[in-house]
Amino acid sequence: MAIERASGGTSLIDVLDRVLDKGIVIDAWVRVSLVGIDLITVEARVVVASIDTYLKYSEAVGQASPASRPGIDAKAHEEVLAENESLRAQLAAKGVRTPASKRGKQLRA
């Protein structure tokens, strides 16, 4: 598929995504309440609250999956199961019977 680059100003959504709260941002409340920032007569002064530049590569992240995904993180779930398994094995080695060993999988948080 051939794709063409669209210049910034062609998509309103892309523009809004950027201009509303990125770049140099002056405290929104001040902006709204003063209607025009007046430094000289109000004797206010500008203070830099924070500067961030992002000059790193971000981690590649795909979209999180939709609603049917279970609340438990699958990986953590597996870890817990594995841990249960090893604990049960230790107990079995000591000759202790656990109710869980009959029922199979049991999740302990």
């Binding site: 998509s11 770049g23 992240v61």
Partner: protein
């Protein structure tokens, strides 16, 4: 998170403010607060009803002009207010809150794109108006270090946007065809008598995991391919069901053609994905300077 909330609330607050504010601003009480009127009236008004809308900060020791591109109906001349080797790119505008309408937002962006052709810009977020030239000089003076530092870091770098969308159902069918377990489960569900609850649960979990893995693989591949031709990248949250990637890349000006070619090559290789490629943008996603105003007396 907080930032998003604030941004969403803003237009409401602004609208209210205008409703109450514009009445007192206008000397003729019988006239309705109306944008067109304000624009027509403005040139005859005293100086204190005029303000300067700020688009961005650039490096420039001499005053510059960029043409009649300004925000608002009068499309005023875009020019600079200079302090030392910094300049704010501004245009004269009525002293009012600018709502983020289509025209206003696009005007803001249009000015930045024009300035960006020859200058490294630090973009101002939408809707900042100062009362006088002196106020803007004061802004540049107070935040000089911050602006200077960021201008050095962003020197000759451009931002590009890349969104990637997929057809979820099509991908799902592909995954089902490739994965025996899924195929078997699906057949089980359709042929089984009685409750299929557990089979369906398991099927759903497998499908989600497979889709997630597939999406991460695509996104990982795309990021990896563009790494050599970019300076930095940011992954924003995808919007909606179809989007798997919503990224911004910072690219050196002299790498623009290489980046462009690479994006096209990557998209050609993934013909089932839809790519939305935009730019060049001012480096909105790579710069965040938060400024506060303090009363001078409190600061002592």
């Amino acid at each position: 998170m907080q930032r998003k909330t604030a941004a969403k609330k803003l237009p409401v607050k602004r609208a209210k403010r205008r409703a109450t504010g514009s009445g007192s601003g206008s000397g003729s009480g019988s006239k309705k607060p109306n944008l067109t009127l304000a624009a027509v009236e403005a040139p005859h008004k005293a100086h204190d009803t005029r303000g300067k809308y700020v688009y961005c900060v650039i490096r420039a020791a001499e005053p510059l002009r960029f043409g009649p591109l300004g925000i608002g109906a009068e499309t005023a001349e875009v020019h600079t207010v200079n302090y030392k080797d910094l300049a704010a790119v501004v245009s004269d505008t009525p002293m009012a809150v600018h709502d983020p309408t289509r025209d206003n937002v696009l005007a803001h962006e249009r000015v930045n794109e024009t300035v960006m052709r020859k200058h490294t810009v630090i973009p101002m977020s939408f809707g900042t108006v100062f009362k006088t030239r002196e106020d803007i000089v004061e802004l540049l003076r107070s935040a000089y270090e911050a602006f200077n530092d960021v201008l050095v870091k962003m020197q000759d770098k451009l931002e590009f946007g890349l969104k990637v969308l997929w057809d979820r159902d099509l991908t799902l069918r592909e995954i089902e065809n490739e994965d025996e377990n899924l195929m078997r489960l699906k057949n089980e569900i359709s042929s089984q008598k009685g409750s299929t609850y557990f089979a369906r649960m398991q099927y759903g979990r497998l499908v989600d995991a497979a889709l997630q893995a597939r999406s991460e693989r695509y996104v990982g591949e795309i990021f990896a391919e563009l790494r050599d031709v970019s300076v930095a990248s940011r992954a924003n949250k995808p919007i909606g069901d179809r989007m798997i990637m919503n990224a911004a890349f910072l690219v050196a000006r002299d790498q623009e053609a290489a980046f462009d070619a690479k994006v096209k090559a990557v998209s050609a290789r993934h013909e089932k994905l839809t790519f939305k490629y935009t730019g060049p943008w001012p480096p909105y996603n790579f710069v965040n300077i938060r400024l506060k105003l303090e009363r001078a007396k409190e600061a002592e």
